[in-house]
């Protein structure tokens, strides 16, 4: 079934089609229409056995999802910016207790000053919480991402929570065609959850999250690290299966767009890569040999795929709609780190773009392309980090 819906509705439909059992959530712009839509499904009798818990804060939303997931239910929530920051402590709790919760984060800039517009710093600030992170480029990817997220999260080699990330307004409130498979086919792809453990086994009661002494804590952490590594294989398998079943292939953690013969590529995440791909088409017509590398999964980080790309290009322009103060763009920082001990040494430059919803257009990509071209020709970086389009 094809429907013209917003990114937020795509998220809500995906949660419904994933047959989530508990939704605990708290409103925040621009996330709110996700939980409103889910409430409508309940009000209209379109879902069975879905418990909706209208909690009093995001901190409690995540805590309630954790309680529900530990009890064996498929749990879902959604938030943005300040809400995500408030959840921070509980994000560790979810991954530490190995609970496959799925959450949609609608990327929104952090205050102050108040801003409701797009910016990836909120989700990237959570990168060390043990959550997998999937960045969607468009509404279809939001929908597909949520369905895949549950399957990956609940895979017995993973058992970790997953964040599906979409951008404020650019996706959350913009309508686009989303293709949704029939429920029976989704059920086949995503059967009911088989929990690793539950709190309802009264004959063999377990205690979760007890004190971990120095003789054990270290190994607990290692197991999460291992599960994150395992997740790479699972992501590829599930992405491939998704492609075979529904025609949209996600078997690569980085989507390579016209990179085979490219001199240099633009790398980034989320909706801004839609703009970039369009710009690549136009630039190619003008004779630029450019491509795009869209990082779909930021956690686990696709080290191997990035290395393959870097071996074959002369330059990478990393576009970061985020910034780590005192350092550089977060994707740039990670990508450079991966390549340090390899033979691949393309020129890398960090462009900070579009923070807090500032427009980022095809024209901007062209300006960046010219700058990159000059750098490669000269064989010399003008500067490593550029706040592109700054007013002063």
């Amino acid at each position: 079934m094809k429907k013209v819906i917003s990114g937020n509705y795509a998220a809500a439909y995906a949660a419904k089609h994933a047959r989530v059992e508990v939704v605990a959530a708290y409103p925040i712009t621009p996330q709110t229409s996700i939980i409103e839509k889910i409430s409508e499904f309940i009000a209209n009798g379109e879902v069975e056995n879905l418990q909706y818990v209208p909690v009093e804060s995001e901190h409690s939303a995540m805590a309630a999802c954790i309680g529900a997931s530990a009890t064996g239910a498929r749990a879902f929530t959604a938030t943005s910016a300040q809400g995500l920051a408030l959840m921070h402590e509980m994000l560790h709790w979810a991954s530490g207790a190995r609970l496959p919760i799925v959450m949609v984060d609608v990327n929104r800039a952090m205050a102050p000053p108040w801003s409701v517009w797009d910016d990836q710093t909120d989700s990237l600030a959570q990168r060390d919480t043990g959550w997998l992170q999937f960045y969607a480029e468009n509404n279809q990817e939001v929908y597909d991402g949520v369905l895949m997220a549950f399957k990956i999260a609940e895979h017995k080699k993973v058992n970790l929570p997953v964040m599906v990330i979409e951008s404020a307004f650019i996706l959350s409130h913009t309508y686009d065609v989303v293709d949704m498979p029939p429920q029976e086919e989704i059920d086949e792809f995503l059967p009911p959850r088989e929990p690793l453990y539950t709190l309802t086994d009264f004959d063999n009661p377990i205690a979760v999250g007890a004190l971990g002494t120095p003789s054990d804590y270290y190994e607990f952490r290692y197991k999460i690290a291992k599960a994150m590594e395992n997740a790479k294989e699972v992501i590829k398998e599930v992405g491939k299966e998704f492609g075979e079943r529904f025609g949209r292939d996600y078997s690569k953690m980085i989507e390579f767009y016209k990179t085979e013969d490219a001199d240099f590529v633009f790398m980034g995440m989320g909706s801004l890569m839609g703009t970039v791909k369009e710009a690549v088409d136009l630039l190619r017509k003008e004779g630029y040999k450019v491509g795009a590398a869209k990082v779909r999964w930021f956690r686990p980080f696709p080290r191997e795929e990035l290395y393959e790309l870097a071996k074959n290009v002369q330059g990478i322009a990393v576009l970061d709609r985020n910034f780590s103060f005192g350092q550089e763009g977060i994707l740039f920082n990670e990508a450079k780190g991966v390549l340090y001990n390899t033979d691949a040494k393309p020129v890398m430059k960090n462009y900070i773009v579009g923070l807090g919803g500032r427009d980022f257009t095809v024209k901007d990509v062209k300006v960046i392309a010219d700058n990159m071209k000059a750098i490669i020709e000269k064989g010399e970086l003008d500067r490593e980090i550029e706040w592109y389009g700054l007013k002063r």
Binding site: V55, A61, A64, T71, L199, T200, A207, L211
Partner: protein, 311 residues
């Protein structure tokens, strides 16, 4: 060990134990005793949630647990939210919650995790009407982090961040009446209880099981370590707290207050009997003691009036 029939008959509490040996509470810890009674009341048809507090430690480190029931350890301020989530999941999965043959969902948190950092989540739990029980075990300070004041610490008490001394920096504010805040949510069942009166406590636990909706019990739980009291005086202290009306036993049920015996029938015992057994009150001067005694009698009077008015 099999208990002989003639002994069984004399026991008014269930003989089965689900709180096992090997827990790591201090000697004389009333919180540990409280846990034992809750487990006796609900056998193993109970899911526990415990936030950061002494009970985290009492329950035992990984891979051990002294509980014969499932237990989820959670973050300090989340008890109300986590038990809400557990209840929602049980319902989504079709389990029976509460009632004679249902699963009891129990949050067990200290006074700090309830009256302070966890108050918001507690309020959410109560207001949304989840079928669960929240037990606040009240040892009147943050014991797990080394005896700091909570908003449930009584006026005049020594703690490590309200120390006595030349400048007289003891706790300056009266004990927060958490149960009044709870009752303001108009929930079906709230009660105070004491480890010194286990039958009364067990009866209240049963009541909480039978009453649909959220229930709340504030359990008075002396802490010899934090109160600087002899380890063999915990029960005596818990009794004196009731007899002096410092911590009267009562129930709030469907809008009605009921004072439970053995709360004082006429005049409460002088508060001094309760205070003098504890090192935490030794810095109090005469005036401090009078302030606290007055507060106790005023609160007691108010409770009696409520019991009269909402009979």
């Amino acid at each position: 060990m099999e208990i002989p029939e003639n002994v069984k008959k004399r026991l008014s509490l269930p003989a089965e134990e689900y709180f096992y040996a090997g827990h790591t509470a201090c000697q004389g810890c009333a919180a540990a005793l409280g846990l034992r009674y809750v487990l006796k009341a609900y056998k193993n048809k109970v899911i526990f949630t415990i936030p950061a507090c002494c009970s985290t430690i009492i329950a035992g480190p990984w891979p051990y647990s002294t509980f014969g029931a499932p237990l989820f350890h959670t973050a300090f301020e989340t008890t109300g939210a986590v038990i809400g989530g557990i209840e929602a999941a049980l319902k989504a999965k079709g389990y029976k919650v509460k009632g004679e043959d249902g699963i009891m969902v129990v949050g067990w948190a200290g006074d700090g995790g309830t009256a302070d950092i966890g108050l918001q989540a507690l309020s959410g739990f109560l207001e949304r009407g989840h079928d669960g029980l929240y037990i606040m075990y009240d040892n009147e300070a943050y014991m797990n982090t080394g005896i700091q004041r909570s908003s449930s610490t009584p006026q005049g008490a020594w703690t490590t961040n309200t120390p006595g001394g030349k400048k007289h920096f003891l706790e300056q504010r009266p004990k927060k009446k958490v149960i009044d805040i709870v009752i303001a949510h108009k929930i079906p069942y709230a009660a105070t209880a004491s480890v010194a009166y286990p039958e009364d406590f067990m009866r209240k636990l049963k009541k909480a099981q039978e009453t649909p909706g959220p229930s709340f019990i504030q359990l008075f739980a002396p802490c010899p370590t934090g109160w600087r009291s002899p380890t063999d005086k915990s029960i005596e202290l818990a009794k004196l707290a009731v007899q002096t009306a410092y911590f009267p036993l009562f129930e709030y049920e469907n809008g009605k207050y009921k004072i439970n015996m053995p709360s004082p029938n006429k005049e409460p015992k002088p508060l001094e009997e309760f205070l003098k057994l504890q090192g935490r009150f030794k810095y109090m001067n005469k005036e401090d003691m009078e302030i606290l005694q007055e507060w106790v009698l005023r609160e007691w009077d108010e409770l009696k009036k409520k019991a009269e008015m909402f009979k």
